[in-house]
Symmetry: C2
Amino acid sequence: MELDDIDRRIVAALRADGRATYQQIGAQVGLSAPAVKRRVDRLRARGAITGFTALVDPAALGWRTEAYVELFCQGRTSPSTIAAALAKYPEVVDACTVSGEADALIHVMAEDVKHFEQVLERINAERFVVRTKSVLVLSRLLHR
Amino acid sequence: MELDDIDRRIVAALRADGRATYQQIGAQVGLSAPAVKRRVDRLRARGAITGFTALVDPAALGWRTEAYVELFCQGRTSPSTIAAALAKYPEVVDACTVSGEADALIHVMAEDVKHFEQVLERINAERFVVRTKSVLVLSRLLHR
DNA sequence: CCTGAAAGACACTATTT
DNA sequence: AAATAGTGTCTTTCAGG
């Protein structure tokens, strides 16, 4: 599962432009288009590249409220239990277990504050959740 | 800046597969390829779609340590000051101002704990930073 | 705002080195 | 493993409804 220098440059090119043609990438890294394709196929097969997506302005889709929520769970709730429960909420964009007092930190995108409140209430009602602590995003400073 | 139902379906298709052809998308939404292309061009021009990118497994690129850091800043530090300072760090993947005690919340990706520690030290040394509070990511539960 | 057609560019496979 | 050549598909522009 080692990436050589050319692989890294191909990945960088595809991160900068996910719709770049193999020819364009090839010109950047000094390879022919088929050679680039083979490497990209291999990177996907190995799981280094997991997919391609469009980057969307959340506001344009009506997602205007964003928050980070710390989850405090009962005794020894397994990560898989938390993951399974959170997967039900499309508003939960991201979730991870963390060090420190909280058991998990989740990233929520909602249409407005009211919508966020409803989602938070439902998450709070999950059996394993003891309490939550939220911070609302005021403005995005940067995003990569 | 209104998106109709077809626009939303095109965006959904491109979020699911950022390299989908206009023909494929057209088949899904009931439009010809040129019609899809014109809508995508318009969505990009309006800033609804900001770009396309490859989704990469951070571990495959050697990014094995991830953390969220709360920033506590001096008196009235402007968001643009914070943004400008953080833009210098490629390890800062995400940053936003938030409600609550902290002034900002940032998402950091580093090669290992040592690397993270170095980045954190440099951020702590920024003139406007009073103190920071970090949580390390233990395991990712989900990601969309 | 869409469809349909045509030209050019690109992807993909097979072959060769 | 990469370059090249050839075939098929897609993108892109343009004309027309």
